[in-house]
Symmetry: C2
Subunit: 580 residues, 2 copies
């Protein structure tokens, strides 16, 4: 697999993972077999479902997990930039006169324009390392670490998942599992969050609308943007505006023009040619055609620069003409100008795509635009053609619901900021907790009960009822025998004794698959297939779990055996307070 | 300069930039000289200031701006993955048995475990390209594009900036400037947003608290995380937990241990050695010392596994012992256990760092912990030593203000999610607008007045009053002569005629510097220097502009000349509606 991002490497982690690895190593417990669960505690966006994502990137990270010599040099000695890199930088500055040499040696110009003496880079910069008093043999061990002793079970990407069920369980030597924590969380957290957000936008827009992700300029930097594009598509979007995502991931990419293109034209004289070749191969005076339609329809007070820009764009892309109509005035200039160009294109055999609205009252403008279209097309006796209306401008999930209520004529949405930044809840909050070490199950107690963990290695099953809907997810200890269709099984709330039910599943879907066992053991699933899997599941689940307002929680349960085990361990580990 | 992120490349852009470039080229206006402004319209977080950031990455992007052959192949022919990459992937899957060969040819295993026939990769995948009917000479031009004809003026990183003033102005051939838009926005938007957020957290915490960024696991993927670490530091944080940020950027990195480390120890028998060498070089039975302190202080009901974990950590890092105290029970187990280990360390010459609280009522727990410390240290007649108290757990700007009001004993904060995701407002909303083409100034009108642009190439100046505070920022047309200290100048609100003032500045700071003129013309400013620049400015500005509640807006003005020019153009470009 291509490793898309060179930043995904073992040092992309919190320092405490490495200090803990040292402390495990120093105490000779680093090889102790351990199990960690990666899970979240609450569904995002006040909803009752989450789309899990990020697994493919996690597997790639584990595949390539290896500390380099320069990583080790940084950790052990605090070296943070190579001499070559520093010298190259210095030379560039010298070349452009930002560093100069005079009788006092080298001088560099500071932010306020003043000059200060600097030294030519002699040796790597270094910072005090927290490891400087540590046993240097640790770094020999660290240099050899890889994931050949690690085993990972995971829920496939695109599965609808719920709180407390591990998305990944990572087994292996405790110190190595610990070193994977932060990066795995980084890769799964945002991917799942934004995929869930995309799925919610899809539910809100309905299955027949075209949804295009426009978030590149507002995402958290370059990779934030690439992750958004990938996982919005996985969550049910149709395309992105991000060209690099198209190149690297093979996703559909969409886009036409911006306001600046419109503003850059002022008059018909800006057009170098008036011609356009029709689909019949014949050359037409396209500008004259547009002008005569403009006169006939009495659209002569529209902005001429805008009309020239539309003509220029249509001459460049006659097969995919889509015009942004709000640069000057949507209904009085943009829409009429689009119509003149669109009719001229239709006349010579092309099928213009439509318009994009980027400001104002989108429901109203889309309906008004349709009226103007209709009048003009009736005049020209054009039938069977309807331009698509695309809308953008700060659209969020609520806007989509509200537009649906108001009624509108929008066919496609371009959605950026609120989609990729996940405005409503900008982080998912997955955690990675130790649940077993040296065959002892561990529990993390907390003054906050929601922060407690479910101990031990577990497997989860989705139990499907006779109507075909998922009834609940059941977690069992790893050794327990799987539930079987047609057989009754007791499913219990993990923390509340009185909440339990006997379930007779019609079908049992094991949620956890072994994806890594020293090497990859799970196929690469094409992105389009994962996307389809999400869309299928949005139909599979009961609608009340998915609705935006007061959704019904989907039940998460544990087996009777796991329930008792969990509660015994809880009591055992809690200190008994003495009150006097 | 090192280019930290391989994803920052010309294709990291919206498709419409490239379709527009084609339309400019096709209409032979691609070389037309143009000026674009990159600016924002509203300060984030209901505040009245923004810290600008991202310039260094923007300059690096411009430096390396060049389309590759594979970029061109993707755009022209829709090729999105090389044959080599596809074949290598296929081979890996074959090797691990996820693809098998039988009499029917190759078969691959799908997500549900079923097998399907697949073909060995023969040729690159391709998608329909929007450019497929375009003039192929465009791609020859595109292949040669670089930034040698581009000129950029910018405001230095770390400057406090305000709405409407361009952070960057980009001059050059219109098609090339257009191709830079999305990537520049991506690089500046989040960087400035998170730097501003960090500066607000710094103001809320006060200048003497240690602030550590903990956001790696909740950021938007790998690079989102690296950007957070860099720009939080620039905005006034002291350190990060992100090791890669330390290695690549030379920033201070902090971290100790997590709950999992504590949970992984169950009893004293888990400790392979009881010894620790003191600062005097002598070996001590450290475990016995801790146990005797525990008995003397009557802390015997604490969790033994936790105490063993603290001992193990102290043996590994005796010089930097900081204990996470909430795994079982903060006041009844964690804090007493820390005290036993800390006193033992003090006895043999080390200075333990302190504790970290990660749940519960942080103000209360920090004060209670101090009481327990005092009682224990009094008993042992330890004076002049106070462990630091670090707090983490979902801290946001409001938490910091509220803690300050309640009173607390916290010395350091670890802040993740709300800092890096910018919970309060997850996007800044910088835009990039054409303001001049072929020496004609352009304006973008909009039904929403706040979306209007200020036309033409401009320079901004910060006018400082006699008290030393900045009075306002003034934008002038690029040709106008600079304001001079001691001379009266008329400063006008850009859109409201009656709002204007004569200003006599004591000092004039030009905000725009030429940073690129076909090559780099501005020095690389070290990250630490940019950070200090932010901290200095937080002291320079009047406090009422910076306060969290109802801050006073800082004034942004235009020269009289620019005011008149702007209003004339506005009227000229607006269509006059006819009402009947």
């Amino acid at each position: 697999m291509l490793n898309l991002n060179s930043l995904v490497q073992p040092l992309l982690t919190d320092l405490y993972q490495i200090t803990m690895a040292y402390a495990y190593w120093k105490n000779r417990v680093h090889e102790a077999p351990a199990v960690f669960d990666l899970f979240f505690r609450k569904n995002p966006f006040d909803g009752e479902f989450t789309v899990c994502a990020g697994l493919e990137e996690a597997i790639r990270f584990v595949t390539n997990f290896k500390f380099t010599d320069s990583d080790i040099a940084y950790l052990r000695d605090g070296l943070y930039q190579t001499l070559e890199a520093k010298q190259a930088e210095f030379e560039t500055l010298l070349q452009h006169g930002l560093i100069k040499k005079d009788t006092e040696g080298y001088q560099a110009q500071a932010i306020d324009g003043t000059w200060h003496t600097v030294e030519y880079p002699q040796a790597p910069s270094s910072v005090r390392s927290v490891f400087q008093d540590c046993d240097p043999d640790f770094f020999k061990w660290l240099k050899d670490v890889d994931c050949s002793q690690v085993k990972i079970h995971a829920i496939p990407e695109g599965t609808l998942v719920f709180p407390k069920i591990p998305l990944l369980t990572v087994e292996g030597p405790v110190a190595i599992c610990q070193l994977l924590e932060t990066t795995l969380l980084n890769l799964v957290n945002y991917a799942s969050l934004v995929a869930t957000n995309a799925a919610r936008f899809r539910l809100a827009a309905g299955p027949d609308k075209l949804l295009v992700e426009f978030g590149l300029r507002r995402a958290q930097g370059p990779d934030g943007a690439l992750s958004s594009s990938e996982y919005c598509y996985l969550g049910g979007f149709d395309a992105t505006s991000n060209v690099l995502a198209g190149k690297l991931l093979g996703m559909p990419v969409r886009g036409t023009h911006a306001h600046s293109f419109v503003s850059s034209f002022m008059e018909f004289e800006d057009l170098p040619t008036h011609d356009l070749v029709g689909t019949n191969g014949q050359k037409y005076d396209f500008v004259a055609m547009v002008k005569s339609i403009r006169t006939a329809l009495n659209f002569t007070r529209t902005n001429t620069g805008e009309l020239a820009a539309f003509i220029a764009y249509a001459q460049s892309f006659p097969n995919s003409f889509l015009a942004l109509v709000d640069t000057y005035d949507t209904l009085h200039s943009g829409v009429p100008n689009f119509i003149c160009v669109a009719i001229a294109l239709l006349n010579i055999g092309y099928k213009p795509l439509g318009i994009r609205l980027d400001s104002g009252d989108l429901a109203y403008l889309s309906k008004e635009a349709c009226h103007i279209f209709k009048t003009a097309f009736d005049y020209y006796q054009i039938s069977g053609y309807k331009p698509i209306i695309m809308a953008s401008n700060d659209i969020n999930e609520e806007t989509l619901h509200s537009l649906k209520q108001q009624g509108h004529e929008i066919d496609a949405f371009g959605i950026g900021t609120h989609l990729v930044t996940c405005q409503k809840q900008p982080a998912l909050g997955c955690v990675y907790k130790l649940v077993e070490i040296k065959q002892h199950q561990r529990i993390k107690l907390s003054q906050e009960k929601s922060k407690m963990t479910i101990p031990g290695q577990k497997r989860a099953y989705r139990l499907i009822g006779k109507e075909g809907y998922p009834l609940l997810d059941l977690m069992m200890a790893a050794g327990e025998s799987e539930p079987t269709p047609g057989s009754k099984i007791l499913c219990r709330h993990p923390f509340e004794a009185a909440k339990r039910a006997y379930v007779i599943p019609s079908q049992v879907i094991p949620l956890h698959h072994c994806v890594w066992n020293g090497h990859r053991t799970y196929p690469v699933v094409p992105l389009g297939k994962k996307r389809q899997f999400v869309l299928d599941q949005l139909k599979l689940f009961r609608e009340d779990h998915l609705r935006p307002l007061n959704p019904t929680p989907y039940k998460i349960s544990v087996s009777d055996n796991l329930y008792h085990f969990l509660h015994d361990l809880w009591l055992e580990e809690s200190p008994i307070d003495e009150i006097s």
